[in-house]
Amino acid sequence: MVEVREAVWRRRSGWWTQNGHYLLFMLREVGGSLSAVYGIILLGLLITFDMGQASYEDYLAFLQTPAMLAIQAVILAFVLVHAFTWFYLIGKSQAVMSAYRAPEWTRVFGLMIVIFVAASVGVLFVVFGGL
């Protein structure tokens, strides 16, 4: 009797580079992890604040070194990708908002951007007293 076999499918390494949407997904996930890293950096502010003025100012100076500024710029870029891709996806799942009719995803996406910008401006006003 002749043996009959199936050709077994295996995922190729680097699969996420072969499609723009997969790549965006991976960037979004990395952005999530990096936002946690930035949380740790901010936590450092609290810890050094508790240790006294000298420690706090040393930490602030450390954050302003070229290497740390570069790291923060990279984190910011990834976090923006994370935020915008999530806004994009939220618009695609707005069926949760209404049982009978989902709003156009472009409208939801636009609304999310407006809220994001408004919240950012609000935070800037609270923290710095203005733009």
Binding site: V2, E3, V4, R5, E6, A7, V8, W9, R11, W15, W16, Q18, N19, H21, Y22, F25, E29, L89, K92, S93, Q94, A95, V96, A99, Y100, R101, A102
Partner: protein, 251 residues
């Protein structure tokens, strides 16, 4: 008749009784601008190699049989014009990603069929009404609530596009989950709790990481990604109700 162009079809071949693994074979195929990839495959079968094996049936995007990877993207070959996918003069055709191949372009859909039945894709009633009492009726807006998910033709393009299913074929997957939502939203159905119990598992809705590609490739705009997120919300609401208001846990 319009002048014919030429294109190379690079087709993945696999003979289950052969000794060698999958390989690619090139076929030179003439085509007109109104012909689709399925026409090209049928040309090969009729004129160049009758052993080439692939599924197809209706040729009009209804049966969902002719899904294949065309240039690396899951598509219905009956709805994909050759002129749109052959800018370099080559059209590469593979069986759908994520499934084993039985022969040539024929994918083994057994994993999908298991997931499909897992979500109980039928109207569940706690107590069946006798036929003599007539059919279950609905208002048009009640039909509209699940119409989008009911348009699914089970072509499995969404599975081929889903990197989660590709990494773990135990994942219930986009089309089956969209179908689950279709029945949960159906006012005739009383099986929401039963289905949400089945789906609130590691291989159910919570395995979806919302890549969203399933909705991109869906030829019927079913939006399985959106459906899965809706299921997550429903499951969460139900869980919180169970915790806070046990008497009102059901929808």
């Amino acid at each position: 008749m319009a002048a014919e162009n030429q294109v190379v079809f690079r087709v993945r071949r696999y003979q289950p009784q052969g000794t060698k693994g999958p390989y690619y074979q090139d076929f030179r195929v003439p085509y007109r601008s109104d012909e689709v990839v399925l026409d090209g495959l049928n040309y090969i079968k009729d004129n160049l190699d009758p052993s080439l094996t692939f599924r197809w049936s209706c040729r009009m995007g209804i049966c969902g049989s002719c899904g294949m990877d065309v240039n690396g993207k899951p598509r219905l070959t009956c709805g994909t014009f050759i002129r749109d996918v052959s800018p370099g003069g080559i059209v590469q055709v593979d069986p759908l990603t994520g499934f084993n191949s039985i022969k040539d372009l024929v994918a083994d859909f057994d994993p999908f069929m298991e997931h499909f039945l897992y979500v109980k894709p039928w109207v569940i009633r706690e107590k069946q009404r006798p036929l003599s009492e007539g059919e279950y009726t609905q208002f048009p807006e009640e039909l509209a609530a699940y119409r989008q998910q009911s348009l699914c033709i089970n072509c499995t393009l969404c599975y081929a596009a889903c990197p989660v299913f590709q990494g773990d074929n135990h994942f219930v997957g986009p089309a089956s989950l969209a179908l689950a939502l279709r029945y949960i939203r159906d006012t005739r159905d009383e099986g929401a709790d039963e289905r949400l119990d089945l789906l609130s598992t590691p291989h159910g809705i919570w395995e979806c990481t919302f890549v969203g590609e399933c909705s991109v490739v869906c030829p019927k705009e079913v939006d399985p990604a959106g459906a899965i997120q809706s299921l997550k919300v429903l499951a969460t609401i139900r869980h919180m109700r169970k915790l806070l208001m046990p008497k009102f846990a059901s929808r």
